[in-house]
Point group: C2
């Protein structure tokens, strides 16, 4: 008997509570997370050291469903990179207000580092030079993060009535709306960047 | 005599007060903006219709110093696009917590639409097909926004000690830190995307 086998608090429960606050308010405090979980802040501090560790737990939580790239997977490496980046964009897009919090803190979450390990391995295997590896990962990361915010932008990102350039006004009116528009732009960006990577490969 | 020639409230003053709140808290309310300006909310509503218009005024404020691209400017069009995107990234990077608020709302600010008018004009003049124009602008926009958040990331974006892939760990340790690292990655991304645009031009 004794202690329950399921802990009442866990990093995951704490991260879920904090994520609810960030999605709603764009911010959270440790006291608010404790209140949401109906525990005292001191109980929370038995599990996490503070805000930074909660942010890292949120990072782990939202990327939990990004699939690992299998070494044994068939298919072209560029398709593996595409699939990884698509899943990665969707994870960010589900929590846009968390994005500046995540980019404002060094990535230490082991689960999330595995995604970057995968990406580094694929890129290195396909001749991206070691001295460009981190820059390439950063470029892909930045494009994914910006695209995640674009994916949850309003149906119309720009108001055609306020465009003075007729080509821009026409393009806004004829380019579709919402997620379909965002997805098409994302795939174009992947085309441009991944084609560029082939040129960069030594 | 009569009324003062300088209005006590203006869109710019309201935007500045709201920006201070967003930079500090990641959020703002109309009541908080009124309190910061030492006026009643009802006075504020004589100038702006609500939060959305204040967000749009903040957009206009932070992009105020992005230079217009002159039709008469010498230099290659790709250099004009680069200069525009650099200034655009810096404007976002100065206010990272404003980013999701800006991407979450349709752009109507006339001053900001002029930047996109310029970009559309340059791209159209250099044979980017009309049916890809908005996608190309979106790709550049997304990369700039993600890169702005990267520019204000911590000195180390990833913790080398948590990397299992030795190439990734090595790259983290040898790729420099801070703004210098971010600037180099941003320029690589511009190289890849703008080279891709030449291929896309009809």
């Amino acid at each position: 008997m004794g202690r329950p086998s399921t802990p009442l608090l866990s990093h995951e429960l704490i991260a879920e509570a904090a994520l609810g606050l960030v999605d709603r308010d764009g911010e959270f405090t440790v006291a608010q997370v404790a209140a949401a979980l109906k525990v005292r802040p001191s109980s929370l501090y038995n599990h996490v050291s503070g805000k930074a560790q909660i942010v890292e737990a949120m990072r782990g939580l939202i990327f939990r469903d990004v699939p690992r790239v299998s070494l044994e997977t068939d298919g072209h490496w560029l398709d593996q990179v595409r699939a990884l980046l698509r899943a990665y964009r969707d994870a960010f897009a589900a929590h846009p207000r968390l994005v500046p919090m995540l980019t404002g803190q060094t990535v230490t979450s082991p689960d999330v580092m595995r995604i970057y390990d995968d990406l580094a391995r694929i890129l290195t295997e396909h001749a991206i030079p070691a001295d460009r590896l981190l820059d390439v990962i950063t470029v892909l990361d930045s494009f994914v993060i910006g695209s995640a915010l674009d994916a949850v932008a309003p149906d119309q990102v720009w108001d055609a009535e306020h465009a003075q350039n007729p080509d821009l006004a026409g393009a806004i009116l004829t380019s579709g709306a919402g997620r379909q528009r965002a997805d098409r732009s994302f795939e174009l960006g992947l085309d441009l960047l991944l084609t560029g990577l082939i040129g960069l490969a030594g």
